[in-house]
Symmetry: C2
Subunit: 245 residues, 2 copies
């Protein structure tokens, strides 16, 4: 990929779900509705935890995304109710997935302006994980696709995935900065490889994404309260990166 | 992408499922088991057709792949049995998906030799559709990943997808040849764009992939009986392509 900056940050990556547009709220809502369906059969305080345990053990089969979540919900509902749940109610659970796959894409406040401001001085790419089909649909519906040089939908956002992408992008880690809401998926692996990060927390986080530990590279990261602060944070980190070059 | 051939075919794409390794057999088997589960509730001759109708209307929600198939199976089972199906049996349907996602990758006869033979003279890429997570797993398990310059997992294999890939690969359609078992997904869209195709039929085809019409470019395609005939078919088409250049 052609990058015109010869020093400092040469390429900026953006996460999508809960960084550019609302996503986890819809999952939270689907989970709340799942719990209501199951609660007609059992009186348990930990339905959410039980669902998460099933989702977590199924990641090895299903990966991330709505479809895997829905299959885990069907499985969890059968287990939690000792198979007393009705076919209609299991059908409603599949229906939750369909609704989730069709929710409108709502950009978070200030997103378009922030991405445009960054794109003025840096090529930008989108890096997101989940169901390929669903993510493509959301990228298309977002109206932002044209701003990005590349759109990468990956099955896992770990260090080895980022290392492969850096090779494809022809960028070294120390010239790459990632913007995202998940410490686990957007920030920690990039810092680990020697890159830079801007963390924009979202008001709600899936338990799985909250399981993260920043072991190194904290000096190459900024946390900001909202994406409108991104251009300023990028300028600061870029200045440090140029100095270090 | 660097291609060293300056005339004729510069890049060869391979489909994966049912071209490099067995896949539809597992889907057929899962469908047969689905039909046995549902047949305990209803005596219908057209359970398979009803399932396909549900799958087809759900492609717009789920795209392709095992997880979408499993969700469609749950939905179809509820509909076909008028919601009389038990939670245990719906759970077994989710189990079919899990087994399908974990089947071993069995290369078809002669595949490694044929891909290696092609790769001696042409850079090769893999282009496959379906669940990102599952396809990545199969590519990894196949032991063939190192042979391919690029591995592209896409949500749909139509003309616009191939056009985008040609741009990413920096190749013109008339210098690209696609090898695959599906006329609909591997051959027709590539011919439509002006490219070349080698069709290797598989003994069983999903109804959806069989719905294809070759409207033009038949002279730029060869059908072969097995992948071991690929190097010869490629040489012939390459000679025509060089002549046309």
């Amino acid at each position: 990929m052609q990058t015109h900056n010869t020093r400092g940050i040469a390429l900026v990556g953006f996460d999508a779900d809960d960084t550019l547009w609302r996503s986890q709220d819809y999952f939270d809502d689907a989970q709340a509705r799942f719990e209501r369906i199951v609660s007609a059969y059992v009186d348990l305080a930990d339905v959410g935890e039980r669902l998460y345990a099933v989702e977590k053990r199924n990641i090895a089969f299903f990966g991330y995304g709505v479809k895997g979540m829905a299959l885990s919900m069907v499985e969890a509902a059968v287990e939690i109710t000792d198979a007393r749940i009705s076919a209609q109610d299991l059908h409603r659970i599949v229906g939750l997935a369909k609704e989730l796959l069709r929710h409108p894409v709502e950009l978070l406040d200030g997103v378009r302006g922030a991405v445009e401001a960054v794109a003025e001085n840096h090529p930008v790419v989108l890096i997101t994980k989940g169901d390929l089909f669903h993510q493509e649909q959301k990228v298309r519906d977002s109206g932002l696709a044209d701003l990005f040089r590349r759109i990468e939908i990956v099955s896992e956002k770990d260090a080895s995935t980022y290392a492969r992408l850096f090779e494809e992008f022809d960028v070294t880690p120390k010239r790459f900065l990632m913007v995202g809401n998940s410490l686990r998926s957007d920030i920690a692996p990039v810092l680990e490889l020697g890159g830079w990060g801007v963390h924009v927390p979202y008001h709600t986080t899936w338990a799985h994404e909250a399981e993260a530990e920043l072991r190194h590279g904290g000096e190459r990261m900024r946390a900001i309260a909202g994406i409108s602060e991104l251009p300023q944070a990028l300028r600061e980190l870029d200045a440090i990166a140029r100095h270090a070059d």
